[in-house]
């Protein structure tokens, strides 16, 4: 299970960075989304994957005696997902606006910020 996750995370990061390095705006956004997902999976992996041991204290017990899955990474991932949901929605609208105004989706042609006055 871990080795599979490691491969997936590696692929997500690699694909994300490759997409960011492309010149198209849409691919840039896709790259950022992939990178974000990779980071979320990394938190999941590094929080230790434990199968079939939910962190729930039974009605007869006082403490968790057995090993148990760490619930914190899921809370962290949920937070990160919600944040990236907002950021990505914003980024998509921004790209659309930029395309409308600049009339190109090629990052190499976006030079208005370097123009001399």
């Amino acid at each position: 299970m871990e080795i599979l996750l490691v491969i997936i995370i590696g692929l997500l990061y690699a694909a994300g960075i490759y997409m960011i390095l492309r010149r198209s705006l849409v691919k840039l956004i896709i790259g950022l989304i992939l990178l974000g997902n990779g980071a979320n999976m990394l938190i999941f992996l590094l929080g230790r994957v434990v199968k079939g041991h939910p962190p729930i204290i039974g009605p007869t017990e006082k403490i968790l005696a057995d090993m148990y899955a760490d619930p914190l990474p899921q809370a962290l991932i949920l937070t990160a997902i919600v944040i990236s949901f907002g950021l990505q929605a914003f980024a998509i609208i921004l790209v659309k606006m930029a395309y409308k105004v600049v009339k190109t989706d090629d990052l190499d042609e976006m030079n208005a910020t370097d123009e001399d006055l």
């Binding site: 938190i43 944040i83 606006m97 105004v101 976006m110 910020t113 001399d116 006055l117």
Partner: protein, 503 residues
Amino acid sequence: MSNPYIVLPIIFQLFLAILLMFCWTQKNLQKLVSTVGSLIAVAIAVIMFAQVWKSGTLVTQAGNWGAPFGITFVADTFSVLMVLLTTLSGLAVSVFSVGAVRNARVKFGYFPILHFLIMGLCGAFLAGDIFNLYVWFEIIIISSFVLITIGGEKAQLEGSIKYVTMNLLASVVFLTAIAVLYGLTGSLNMADLSLKVAEIENRGLVNVTAILFLVGFGIKSAVFPLYFWLPASYHTPPPAISAIFGGLLTKVGIYALLRVFTLIFIPDAFMITLISIMAALTILSGGIGAMIQNNIRKIFSYLIICHIGFMLAGLGMYTELAILGTVFYLVHDIIVKTNLFMVSGLIFKIKGTYSLRLLGGFYKDYPKLSLLMAIPLFSLVGIPPLSGFWAKFYLIRGGLEVDNLVLVGFIILGSFLTLFIIARFWSEAFWKTGEELPKKLKVKYYHELKPLKQKAMVVSILFLAFISLGIGLGAEYVIQVASRVAEELMNPQSYIEAVLGKL
């Protein structure tokens, strides 16, 4: 010491933002609420600063969950100092916005978002939990995204695409670093991390994590190889927004670097060399970049980078004296950079251009305003007794203490570059004989504005100029504060004890 009210600066800004959202359509009411609210926020920050100064580090556990498990908020001297500076420049920008921000932008929710941004900044300074710090960073960047795009002009949108991309990338790197750190230690509380990271045997892994943090915060604070987004975007939004960005956003990165590298990762010889090299190159590239620019806001953007190098240099020397210099520089830089971007806004409102080639004759036409603008400009250079002098003095002394003469050389070089740039700026914009510029239809000029708006712009510049003068002339008191901050940073024992209780 526990004090449940230390989150008040954050909650108050949130409250202000909500209040402003309710009066979404009343522009004048929004301006009033924002100004009065910012004044109250300054008062809250002052009271908190006095409390922390008197009784030491204050802590609260959100939700009353005990220390390493819940979310901790910590107000030590450094945090409250930063909160105080944030609210001060927030007040200045809020007043400046009354005059400088167009009504169309106010209609799109400029003021609520501004207060969300300040809330995020206060939160980042008070957070005692590394993941919480990440969340505050996200709040800061998402509000800054909205602020930088409001208005939607061509250059603005292009600049914001670069800004958005690099900041999202920085967040991903930061998140990755947190994931690795959590995997290594199983904790997120910064005080707890400080103890746990020190125990890890595999120092190579710790260094890799530290470098991930360095890259993440490095992008945000615009250090040498990672700064390219800053000069591409900071000159595009309206000046009031540039002011708060230039004054505070990069400084949050420096704050986080200082916090992380004094509390969690105590840098070894390799990290110190790395940080020193980055600092030296940041000073050099920022200074040289500023020399060839003609847009005054781009000049200031490159100067931000140059002076971020000074602060990083203090961290690279890593002695109490050098950290004192960094903190002093931070205090001086936040006030001065905010003020400089507001100055550039005022120049634009009067002359209708940002270009150094076209500007000129400002001193002849507006002698009083020019003298006012001279205060932040020459504070930046560090002409004694103005505020920049003392900060550089302590940085250089710190460098001599550890015999890091190369870094001292770069700091002196950076100061000369700044002097050259500001001298050129002064002679081009203020002393050169100016020609009559053609009227632009889109720009609403200064003399066409209502007197209240004119006063708002001048008063906010005056306010920050007075603070810089105060920092320079009352340097003794600032040094007291900065030396206490440096002492607390270099001896994190009191921070850890305040959070986790006596060990």
